[in-house]
Structures are given as C-alpha cells and as structure tokens.
C-alpha cells in the first residue's frame, strides 16, 4: 500500500509541478542568501588582511629602527616615538586581536553585524573604553540580513504550509475521503505516509540546494563535514517539526482555508511572538543593567580617583603620556607612576564593571535555557553557534580581548620596573592573540529537542485522530 501511495503522490506532485516550483524557489532564495553571507565573510577576511598587512609593515619599520639603535646608528624618528621605549612599542605597535570567521559563518549573520572583529589593545587606556561596536547603518541592523538562516527559519516553514495546508481537507472538500476510508488502510497511516513522503522530498531538495550553495561558496567539505552534517541534521529536524504541525492541524481542523489561517497563526507564534515574549520576560527577570546608570557611576568613581591619581602623577602627563619623554633617555620613573595611576583606576572600576557584566551574563544564560521553548529559537541559536556569530561568541571575544590586553600590559611592565629598553630579540616573544571558541550546546541535543517537539505533536494528533474516528467526525 505504501508503494501505491508513494507512486500516486509522486505522480500528482510532478503533475502539479509542485516539485519543480519548490526546487526553483528554494534554489533561488538559498543561492541569494548564500551569496549575501559569503560577501559579508569576504569583507571580514579582506578587512583582517588589510589590518594585518598594516601591522606587519609598521612592525618591519620598528624592527629596522631597533636594529639601527642597537648598532648605535642615527635614526630618522622623533625621540618620543623611539621603539626602544617599551611603552612606545606597547602603544604604537599593537597586535591585532581578531575574531576570524568560521567555515560556516556565511550561513548566519547573527550578531556579527553589531560587533567589530578586530581590536588592537594598547598599553595606555583602560579596558573599559574599548569600543566593540561596528560602524554600520542602524537601518541595516533593524532590517537584518537575508541569510541562509533566515531562509530556513522563516521561509521554509511557509513553503511547507503553502504546499501542504490542505492535504487532508482537500480530500474532504473533493469528497474523495470516503473513497479513501473504504480502502484497507487507516486514514491516519495514509496521512502519515503522505506527510512522510512530502517531508522526504522537501528534506532531499533542501539538502541538495544547500549542497549546491555550499559548493558554489567554496566550502571545504573535507575539513568541515561534521559542521555541514550538523546543519543538515538541525534543518531536517526543523522541517519534520513543521510537517508534524501540518499533519496535526489537518486532523484538528477540517477546512482548507481554516487550516491555512491556523497554520499561519502557529507560524507567527513560533517565529515571532514566542521569541519576542521570551526576550521581554528576560528583561523582567534579569533587567539589562542600565548603561546610563553605569556611566554615571563610572564618572563618580573616576572623579574620586582623579585626586588620588594626581598625587601619583601630574594630570597633564596622565592625559598625554606620549609627551613624557622628550629626550633620548627613557623617563622610567614617569612610567612607573603612570602604570601605578592606571592600575589604581582599573582596580577601582573593576567591581563596578564586573557587576554589570555579571547581570548581562545572567540574562543571557536565562535566555539560553528558555531557547528550548520554540524550535525556531533553537534553530537560530544552533545556526549562530555553527557560524560562530552567537552572542556567546562575542561575549567570549570581549573577555578574551580583555585578558589579552592584560597579557600585553604585563609583557612591558617588568621591562619598565627593571628600567630595561625594548630590544629587537624580544619581538618574537610579544604576546599574540588567538581566539578560543566557547563551549556550545551540542547540535545533536538541539536536534533531539526539536524531534521531541515533533514526537509530542504527532502523539497528540494520533490521539485526537482516534477520538475523532470514534465520534465519526473525521469524514463527515
């Protein structure tokens, strides 16, 4: 019987040009989305190469000057800029702390449009003042990007709804359901087979379309097969979830137009209302600490410590440390006091800033737990994690940049205290930044949760089907 059903469905699908239309729509939107994602990644790589090239060029000049200084030759550089002063190297020759794109970054823009991917921590200034936000038009941020994640999360369910909202109700409306009921197969099995068949084709088409998009974007399957398979696994589970809903609605409600309206209502709830509500509830449970209030508090602390700092250091030089040395000799005692004054500011601000970071992290972890309330949110989080564009990735990046900036300062401070100049041979020991990926939720677990949702819906629909059959309201 299954074979008959399979043949019948395939014939009717091919006749109605459903498969062709579906494949074409999906291929076009996916290719466009992939192209958009890839363009953003390419720009990121290009920006990184530019800044690395600039840094290398600067460093080459510095090494050349150091070489001349160590050989006792004259150099063509202002005294206050000479790189034998460790503070000058720490300030003028910073390393790039970059967040490099992952192989799958092009699938989801996530939070990547909000943040910068290259920061250059320097020895002056406090960690508090780093600006991690990227320069972009807020209108673009508001509208978001047309990426693969958008196609899968938003558009794929609509395609499923548009093409399958009436699978059972159509039979009712055409009167063919009575004919079906007289066949030696339960209507539920028949419906399940029909849905399974459509699920199979849509998954196949989506996977092939994704494969084509990935090949065109030069994805390296050899090294990243696991990530690609995770993407397919999550997508498949998500498609199954929507087909389970379609099946349930076809059983619950018996009229094509009503089915479509109800399915759309569910789409709006799962994709728009639930995430928006969770987001609002998170604000109630863990209100985002007001940055306005934080700035006011930072100002108060800064004002208080300014007096203490004045005792350590003249306020003019504190604002302009670059003018501390004017002669050829390095003014080590100034720099000792400068570091002391900086440390004072950092120590005083640390507890205040930490309390703010902690509150934000609390809210984010609350949301992470609540993501499981909607499959759409799970898919979004999973894609962002695969792409390395999730909030966690950027939170981790900020933390690692701060840690790196401490490491960078710690490299030069001992030289100052020992009154040692920076030498050419020390260059290779300069700290380098390497981003460590944060721990992310297992993709298999996420897929399992979505499957659990589907199983739940299928069970309910089966129970409801039996109830309706008993009452005899399924056919009439």
């Amino acid at each position: 019987m299954f074979l008959y059903n399979f043949k019948y469905e395939l014939k009717s699908l091919l006749r109605s040009k459903w498969l062709f239309l579906l494949s074409t729509i999906l291929l076009i939107v996916m290719l466009f989305a992939g192209y958009n994602g890839k363009q953003k990644v390419n720009k990121r790589i290009e920006d990184f190469s530019k800044i690395t090239a600039q840094t290398e060029e600067r460093d080459a000049v510095m090494l050349h000057v150091l070489d001349s200084l160590e050989k006792g030759l004259e150099v063509n550089m202002s005294n206050n800029l000479l790189p034998n002063n460790p503070m000058n190297v720490g300030y003028r020759y910073p390393k790039v702390a970059a967040l490099q794109p992952k192989p799958l970054t092009f699938i989801s823009v996530g939070q990547s449009d909000l943040f910068t991917h290259t920061v250059q921590p320097k020895i002056y200034g406090d960690n508090f003042s780093y600006n991690y936000s990227e320069l972009s038009s807020p209108v673009q941020l508001l509208f978001g990007s047309f990426d693969i994640a958008f196609v899968i999360i938003y558009i794929l369910p609509l395609i499923i709804i548009a093409f399958s909202y009436n699978i059972l109700s159509k039979e009712k409306e055409y009167g063919s359901i009575k004919l079906l009921a007289s066949q030696p197969i339960s209507i539920y099995s028949w419906l399940l087979q029909k849905v399974t068949f459509r699920f199979f084709w849509l998954t196949l088409i989506t996977s092939v379309v994704l494969l084509i998009t990935f090949i065109i974007n030069g994805f390296d399957f050899g090294d990243n097969m696991g990530a690609f398979l995770s993407l397919i696994m999550i997508t498949t589970a998500y498609i199954l979830f929507w087909f389970a809903i379609v099946l349930a609605i076809n059983i619950f409600i018996g009229n094509s137009a009503k089915n479509a309206v109800s399915l759309l209502g569910i789409w709006v709830f799962v994709i728009l209302i639930i995430p928006a509500t969770v987001s609002q509830l998170a604000n109630l449970a863990y209100p985002i600490p007001s940055r306005t209030k934080m700035l006011a508090e930072v100002r108060n602390v800064k004002k208080e410590i300014a007096e203490k700092q004045d005792k350590i250091l003249d306020n003019y030089l504190r604002d302009h440390p670059e003018y501390a040395s004017t002669g050829k000799e390095i003014n080590y005692s100034f720099w000792h006091r400068y570091i002391a004054s900086q440390n004072l500011a950092e120590a005083e601000l640390k507890p205040l800033l930490a309390s703010y970071t902690e509150q934000i992290e609390n809210q984010q972890s609350w949301i992470e737990n609540w993501q499981y309330i909607s499959p759409a949110v799970i898919v979004q989080q999973s894609f962002n994690n695969l792409a390395g564009t999730s909030s966690a990735h950027y939170q981790e990046y900020k933390k690692q940049v701060v840690a790196f900036s401490v490491k960078w300062k710690d490299f030069f401070t001992p030289l100052l205290y020992k009154s040692q100049p920076f030498r050419k041979k020390m260059y290779k020991n300069l700290p380098m930044f390497e981003y460590q990926q944060p721990k992310i939720a297992s993709m298999t677990f996420n897929a399992f949760i979505i499957l659990f949702f589907s199983a739940l819906i299928l069970t309910f629909s089966w129970l409801f089907f039996n109830k309706k059959s008993e009452k005899g309201t399924l056919i009439n």
């Binding site: 936000s133 509208f143 978001g144 990007s145 609509l158 094509s256 479509a260 003019y316 984010q364 989080q381």
Partner: protein
C-alpha cells in the same frame, strides 16, 4: 446599499471564531506591549534625568585644575528618549545612548541596547511598532482574504448581484468592512498611547500634530494592505489560493524586501569598518596641526602667521597664551577632519536610502516604516542630528576651555583655573527636528505611499468582476 453590505460583512466577520480569537490575542499583545514599553520609557527617562544631573554635578565639582585637564576629563551627553518612541522605537535599539565628549577626539555614541542583548532579540520585540507593522496586516488578511472568493465558493455572488448592487458599491462596502477591526485596534492603541503620553510628567517635545500624522501614516499603510488583499481576493478563484497569495505578499513586503534592500545597500554602498574609519582620521590628524606639538610643520606655520599678524618676534610677546591658542586652532582643524569623514558616512547613508526607496516598489512597508520612524524621531537621521549637536557642543566646550587658558594665563605658565570656572560652561541642549522639517525630509516617502494607495486602489476598482 453600501451600509447594508458593510453590515452583512461585519456580521460574517463577527460570526467567525478565528477572527474573535485573533482579535483578542492582538488586542492583548498590544495592551501588553504598550504597558511594557511605557514602563521602559519612564524608567529610561528617569535614568536619563538622573544621569544628566549627575554628569553636570561631576563636571561642576571638578575643583581647581587646568582647563585642558578638564577637557580630557570630558563630559558625557545622553540621548533623551522622545515621547513618540512609545509607539515606534525605530532604530533606537541599535544606536548608542551616550557620547563621551573630550579634547582631540570625536567619539561615537556607545552602548546600544542591541549589543547587550542576545541574538533572540533579533526576531523582533513585543513593542507597539512590531504589532502595528507586522501583526495588524495579518488581521487585514484574515478578515479580507475571502471577501470575494467566499461569495463565489458559497455561490452567493449571484444573490448579491440580483439585489441590483453596483460593483463599486460592493467593493467600497467590503473595503470598509475589512478595515473596521483594524481601525478599532489602531484607534484604541493610539487612544491608550495618547492618554499615557499626556500623563507623563514633563513629556517635553511631544506634539499632538506629530501624533496625528503618525496615526495617519498607519492608516494609509492599512488602506494599502486592504486594497492589495481585496484585489487578490477579487482575482483569485479559491479562498485557499487567495490566502496563500496574500501571505506571500505580506512576507515579501514586511520581511523579504527590507532584508534584500539592506543587503543590496550594504554591498553597493558599504560603510568603512570602525578600524578603517579611525585609521583614516588618525592619518589626517597626524598630517595637520597638533595642539601639543609645537615642532610639527603646521604648528610652525601657524606660529609664523600669528607672529606676523601681531607684529611681534616671539610668542612670549603675544597678548594671550599662545599655546592655548594653538590648542584651539588644532581642535578646530581636527573638528573639520571629523566633520569631513562623518559627512562621507552621511552621504553613504543617503545613497543607501535611494536603494530602500527603489525597493519600495515591491513593499509599502518600507516607505511607511521610514515615515513612522522619522515622525517619532527614532530614525537614523534623528540620531545623526543628536550626534551632530553633541559634536557642536564638544567644539564649543573646547573653545570655552582653551579660551579660558588663552585669556587668563601666559605661555609656559602652569595655569590652574578656579573651581567655579566649570559652571560657566553652558549646558548641552538638544532640540529634535520639528514636524515640518521631518515632513520636508520625507516628501518622497509620502509620494511613494500615496502612489501605492492610488495604484492598488485603482486596480481594485478596475478588476471589478463580472460573473
């Protein structure tokens, strides 16, 4: 006759259980969103007030110090939350809330809400604008998708025709009936918002005329949606097809077109990265006058020029503190560099705006969204105005501080200004653009919206079916 058609349609709508459920859900969501947003609005404004006062106190109580030190201590200006943001938050979430103003540097606004939120908030937020722009059109679809198809499917079209009703009367009746639920929801929302806004203490720049225009913009947006949905219903043969087509239009207009526009705008007219932007400014700054460096080429040129003007041989003979004068000139020079680079950004956005306007051909959402944000003063232009006002204030502050040193001290002197100097600095004032300025800025968006309305309206009347 029109009235009878409206009555019949409304009765049918009211009989529909799905409509009742949806209507109450939307109403509940709206009330919840207005409640949450107004709470947030008041708390943000309280914080804004106290932060502003605190900042001024901190600034005024710096004690005796060198004015240039005070310039480095700087001051923060905070962006006020404006009353109509209660209805449309616009891009507020993506722009920073405060700008640090200091000597030598023009900083960008920092701490946008979006950077502190998780990716979840990118799905959308439960705010009135989210419901007004995305959910209410769904109510129109729900009410109107089968407006004509149901008459064909139920074979009632002939009965209606046999009553001698004119085609255009039928269209008008159905059009008004399809709009009634939307009108009720929208009017109710604006009423609640109006009551809340008029009860907020010191709600400053709130104007009822802006409020009225905003209401009108949403109405036109819904008129267009009603035109399109009824048009689809009138040319479709089955309710199911009409519904799917209407939904396709909704997704295309509200979700896909804005995203496509955003991608095209970004790839055609990209912004420089933060790194590039700062690097370019730093490079130009290093080539020009440096207030702290008397040995640089431009500094020497300035010195020569000033000596010549005052007919003296040494800066010590000048009647003012030359180093403070040079500092001020350098500030002015650097401010010009910043202005030039920020102007480039603004131009880039202008070019991007043309892409949004072009794509408005497939989406009435785009012009309506831009208009609504603009009238509510939550659009990008309003943010640009605020940051320009902050920059003006920064330049004036530097002139005030350098002027103080210039007048009251001599070159080479370790000058300390008295503790009461700081309160002489005028406070930062920011007046958002007026309604007429906003209307002028948005003429093209209004034209596009009216075109949408007239073309879809015209088509609806032209496709008046004959069965």
């Amino acid at each position: 006759m029109i009235f009878q058609i409206i009555k019949k349609e409304v009765q049918e709508i009211l009989r529909d259980g799905r409509f009742k459920i949806s209507f109450f859900i939307v109403l509940f969501l709206l009330v919840a969103s207005v409640f949450i947003t107004s709470k947030q609005y008041s708390s943000i404004n309280e914080q804004y007030d106290s932060a502003e006062k605190n900042e001024r106190t901190v600034w005024e109580s710096q004690g005796a110090k060198n004015p240039h030190s005070a310039a480095h201590f700087g001051n923060y200006v905070f962006k006020p939350k404006l009353p109509l943001s209660l209805l449309d938050q616009g891009v507020d979430k993506y722009t920073g809330i405060s700008i640090f103003l200091e000597a030598h540097n023009r900083n960008q606004a920092q701490y946008s809400t979006a950077t502190d939120q998780t990716a979840l908030s990118r799905f959308g937020e439960l705010t009135p604008d989210f419901i007004l722009f995305f959910i209410i059109p769904l109510i129109i679809i729900l009410v109107g998708y089968n407006s004509f198809t149901k008459e064909i499917e139920g074979r009632t079209f002939y009965i209606i025709k046999s009553q001698g009703v004119d085609g255009w009367k039928l269209v008008i009746g159905k059009w008004i009936a399809a709009l009634i639920p939307t009108l009720i929801i929208t009017t109710l929302l604006f009423l609640i918002a109006g009551i809340i806004l008029s009860n907020i203490k010191g709600f400053g720049v709130f104007s009822w005329s802006s409020f009225g225009i905003l209401y009108l913009i949403y109405l036109i947006y819904y008129f267009i949606f009603t035109n399109v949905i009824l048009l689809i219903s009138s040319i479709s043969k089955k309710s199911g097809i009409a519904l799917v087509s209407s939904l396709t239009f909704w997704v295309l207009a509200c979700f896909i077109a804005p995203k496509i526009a955003s991608n095209i705008a970004d790839s055609k007219y990209p912004y420089p990265t933060q790194q590039e932007f700062s690097e370019n400014i730093a490079k130009e700054k290093s080539e020009g006058l440096d207030g702290h460096n008397p040995w640089n080429q431009k500094s020497k040129e300035l010195e020569e020029k000033v000596l010549k003007e005052h007919n003296v041989n040494s800066v010590n003979d000048l009647p003012f503190n030359y180093s403070a004068y040079r500092m001020q000139k350098s500030e002015e020079y650097q401010a010009e560099i910043y202005a030039k680079h920020y102007k480039k950004l603004k131009n880039q956005f202008k070019k991007q705006s043309s892409i949004y306007k072009t794509l408005a051909v497939i989406s009435p959402f785009l012009p309506a969204r831009f208009l609504s944000m603009s009238i509510a003063n939550t659009d990008y232009q309003s943010h640009i105005n605020f940051s320009d006002a902050a920059e003006d204030y920064r330049i004036k502050t530097q002139a005030f501080l350098n002027g103080n040193t210039e007048k009251n001290s001599k070159i080479g002197e370790r000058y300390v200004a008295s503790a009461d100097t700081w309160k002489d600095l005028p406070r930062f004032e920011y007046t958002p653009a007026s309604l007429s300025e906003k209307l002028n800025e948005n003429t093209s968006n209004f034209v596009i919206l009216f075109l949408w309305f007239s073309v879809t309206g015209g088509l609806l009347f032209l496709t008046n079916k004959n069965y």
